[in-house]
Every structure is written in C-alpha cells, then in structure tokens.
C-alpha cells in the first residue's frame, strides 16, 4: 500500500496513541472553531496531531469531510514522518532532511481507476468550492484559506514544481494563488514564463497527503528540479501520480492525495488577498496576486482536509528543518568544526539561527556567523556558541550570549542589507583573555547515577500532611 495521509494517521494511532487527539464536535469555518481549539491546546503545551471528525462547509452545511491539523507541530512528529526515531529529532533530523534533498526516487504513474483521489470527481458546473472546508484562523484574516501546496509544470523544461502556497476563497469557482514574489520564486517563475507568451498556467492544489510528501515539498531545491522525485525521496518510495482531470493527460497529480483542486491561472490575472496571519505572527499586508479559475475538484469520499495553523509551531518547523541541514552543510564547507545548527521557534523558524562550533581560532565565531546570512535571505540574527552549548536549548544559547559575548566587540552587523542590517553575535569563549570555567557536575558521577534507582516512589519523605498538622516549622 502506498503512503498517504490516512495510512500515516492509522499508523500513528496504532504505534503512538498518545500523539493524536480526536475532536468529535462539529466545527464551523465561519466561527474560528479550528483556530480556537488549536490555540487552547498550544497554550496548555499540548502538541498532539488533531483530528476534527466533523466539519461544516463555508455556507454552514454539514459535510462528509474531516480535518487534520498539527502534523508538523513537533520535531518528533516530523522525524517520525520520514521514518526516524523521535530521539533523532534534533540535528540528525536536519541532516537526514539534507540527505533526502539530494536524492531522488522517480514517480510511478497509475491510471485514474487506481487513484483514490478520483473516487469523486466534480467538474464544470459541479465545481463548488464553498462545499470544501476552508478556514479563517486569525481575527483580521480577510477570508477562508487553504494552506497546503500547489503543483505547476514547466512545459518547456518538463519538470514539476511543488511549493507551499496558500489560497483564498474568492467564489465557488475561484481561488487566489498567493504568489508573493519574495516567497514563491519557483512557482512565480513558471507563471511569468507563461505570461510572457500570453499563456495560461495550469495548477493543482494538493489538500491532504502523507506528511513526508509536504516535508519533501518544503525541501530547498533549485528551480528546474522535478519536485516529485525529491518528494519520493522523503516518502522513501515513488509518489504515485495520475493524469489530471481537466489540465490534460500529461499534467500529473498525486494519486494518493485526499483532495486535488485543479484550475487555470489566466495570464496577468490579479485579485486582492490578505490580511492573513502568516508565519511571522503578523498579518501579511493586502496585496494583489494571481487567481485560479477552478476547473475540477477530485477527492476521496470521506476526504481528510489537511491544514496548517499559520504562525504557530508546525509552521515554524516547516521553515526551520529544511534550512538547518542545508546551512550545516554550507558552513561545513568552509568551517569543518561546525557541530549543530538550529533555527528556533522564537525566530519563527526563519529569522534567527544558532550555530555551535568547536572553536580553534579567536575569529572563528565571527566568521562562521556570516555564512548563514549568505544562504538564507530571511535571516536577521545569528548567534554562534561553543560546542558545550545545546543550540536546541534556547535558554543555554542566551546564557552563552549574556555571559560570553562582550557586547562592545562581539555584536557585529552586516550593513547595507535590505530593510535592516543583519546581526551576528559571537557568544564563544574568548581565547585571548582569561575567562572563567563553566561549572558542571562531574561526568563520572552523572554516568554512575541511574536516576530511577535513586528516586523513592513511595510517599515523599516528611510530606504526610497529618504528621505536620498544627506544627509550624521553626516555631
């Protein structure tokens, strides 16, 4: 059986039952039910996959669709999605991501009769997007959005690009395609190449697939890469593809998706979208983007509509994990002593980066700190620490910064960058002056201590309330 969203969710429930949560009450897109539940869970530190079993549509009608959220909410879930143990969720996950990016598994083509996503086919007059659950998440979001990926094909070079791209519901047969010039260079390149020849651009949105499918779509590939092959590498098996319903036999869509929305982007089309609460946790400004005239919706009978809670931990992980492995490799080229790279949630997985190194020369911290800025244009802030600091533990990183950096000389700026200078903090121990030693518990003592053998699992010593009744300590 090929990997898909429902097989993943079933596997998760079977082998890791505490990792998912069922919501039985019906959610209504018009009432912010989904984001209210997800926000409450986040506030209480609950990081489970969430299955909403009943959803209404945009007009408030009951549907046969269910919803799946929080598939990427922890690094452990992302690790599991590509077959790693949760214990490998820190740097091993980022490095494995980087390895998978460099590999390909070619897709397999199956006829529509073997494609679960073709169980229900709606074309022409039967297309009605208002019957699909889409959601507003934040107070000022302008409307209902899909938040997954779009597929486009470069017909001249014959490759598919698959990238995250949200879509605003405009009408029963129209969505926007949020092609922000700064974020979606690949897809926009294809649209603009077609526009130069006054041609339409076929596009398909993939709403629900195995999480490894989406992790592969988030890989940092170059323009011209056939992304279905890369996604196969993340799934560790060929992506099964099938001919589209309305975009031509040679436009292939994922056969094992839950839902595919097909359509045509007219040349030079423009529609308003945003405000929308984005990964930055701010509303993205209103802007004009292309729109898609929807020609078909195909789905499984009881399709699971997958979504991402924008500007929250799953969204941050989708930004950080693909970049960490690539940055590690780029730094390693010029500085073999790099130990780990992390882009924390406090920087929304994109704006800040912590790097640990085995320092050999005084200037190492400052030089290494320049490299991430060269390779990620969104990055604002880099902190370089020694290898005794865990870059996945922000408290340790900030401790290193406030105790090891001399702010008059260890904060450096890359000047003249767009919008704001970029910052590098060298928080490594200086070699050229006497410096205190970090206090640690002896390693031998730690290794000799098996904690479970030391903990008394009976009554806490001296804690019996009845024994202390009426007595005052120190009286």
């Amino acid at each position: 059986m090929s990997k898909d969203l429902r097989s993943y969710l079933a596997e998760l429930e079977q082998h890791w039952p505490d990792a998912s949560l069922r919501i039985g009450r019906e959610v209504d897109p018009r009432e912010f039910h989904v984001s209210a539940v997800l926000q409450h869970l986040e506030n209480r530190g609950d990081q489970r996959v969430v299955r909403f079993h009943k959803s209404r549509d945009l007009e408030g009608r009951p549907t046969d669709f269910s919803l799946a959220y929080n598939l990427f909410v922890t690094r452990e879930l992302c690790a599991r999605a590509i077959g790693l143990a949760p214990a490998d969720a820190k740097m091993p996950l980022s490095l494995e991501f980087s390895r998978r990016e460099a590999k390909r598994i070619e897709p397999e083509i199956v006829p529509p009769s073997r494609a679960p996503v073709k169980e229900v086919v709606r074309t022409s007059r039967d297309v009605d997007l208002s019957r699909v659950p889409m959601f507003r998440y934040h107070e000022q979001d302008i409307g209902f959005y899909l938040t997954m990926v779009a597929v486009m094909k470069d017909s001249e070079e014959n490759f598919y690009d698959v990238s995250f791209c949200k879509n605003l519901y405009v009408s029963p047969k129209r969505l926007t395609v949020s092609l922000q010039r700064k974020l979606h260079k690949h897809l926009l390149n294809i649209v603009e190449k077609n526009e130069e020849r006054d041609r339409e651009t076929p596009v398909a949105m993939v709403i629900g697939h195995h999480p490894a499918f989406y992790l592969g779509a988030g890989a940092l590939t170059t323009f011209g890469n056939d992304d279905y092959g890369t996604i196969g590498s993340f799934l560790d098996e060929p992506v099964r593809l099938t001919p589209s319903e309305t975009l031509g036999e040679d436009f292939l869509v994922p056969a094992d998706a839950e839902m595919i929305v097909e359509g045509i982007i007219p040349p030079h089309s423009a529609e308003i979208e945003n405000p929308f609460g984005e990964f930055s946790r701010y509303y993205q400004p209103q802007v004009a983007v292309p729109y898609v005239d929807v020609t078909a919706i195909t789905f499984r009978r009881d399709a699971i509509v997958q979504g991402i809670f924008p500007g929250h931990p799953g969204h941050f992980n989708l930004g950080s994990i693909p970049k960490e492995g690539s940055l590690y490799r780029e730094i390693k080229r010029v500085f073999p002593g790099v130990q780990a790279v992390h882009m924390p949630h406090s920087g929304v997985g994109r704006y800040s980066c912590y790097v640990s190194i085995k320092k050999r020369r005084e200037e190492d911290g400052k030089l290494v700190g320049t490299v991430p800025h060269v390779f990620t244009n969104q990055l604002q802030f880099v902190v370089v620490v020694d290898d005794d600091v865990d870059v996945f533990n922000e408290q340790e990183v900030i401790w290193a910064a406030v105790t090891r950096a001399r702010f008059d000389k260890d904060i450096n700026f890359m000047k003249g960058m767009p919008r704001s200078d970029r910052v590098i903090i060298d928080a490594t121990v200086p070699f050229n002056e006497p410096f205190p030693r970090k206090a640690v518990v002896p390693r031998e003592a730690l290794e000799a201590c098996v904690l479970e053998e030391w903990i008394d699992h009976g009554k806490a010593v001296g804690a019996a309330p009845s024994a202390r009744k009426g007595k005052h300590v120190g009286s």
Partner: protein
C-alpha cells in the same frame, strides 16, 4: 517576507476598519478590500491613510 514590509495603513470608508496594504497597491487601479465588511474601494477613497 520580512516583518518590515513596505506598507501603508488605510481606513475603510464604509466601516472604519483599519488595515495595511503593500505599497504596490498605493495609487493603483485595483480596489482594496476591507477585511471586516468586504467593501471594495480605491485607496483614494479612504478617509485616512498613514504611510
């Protein structure tokens, strides 16, 4: 996308809701849309613009 986008704030002429837009929409021919009441209007119709 950086947090420091080139934006301008507008107020909806119908309901007064304030929101911001990318500068590419300033003095443009495409109508803005109020996120609260969905009224469409040109930026020149806004009672308040902050840029």
């Amino acid at each position: 996308m950086s947090v420091r986008e080139d934006i301008f704030w507008v107020a909806c002429p119908k309901c007064g809701e304030k929101f911001y837009c990318d500068v590419q929409l300033r003095h443009g021919l495409i109508k803005l849309m109020c996120p609260k009441c969905h009224h469409r209007f040109l930026d020149s119709e806004s009672p308040q613009i902050i840029e």
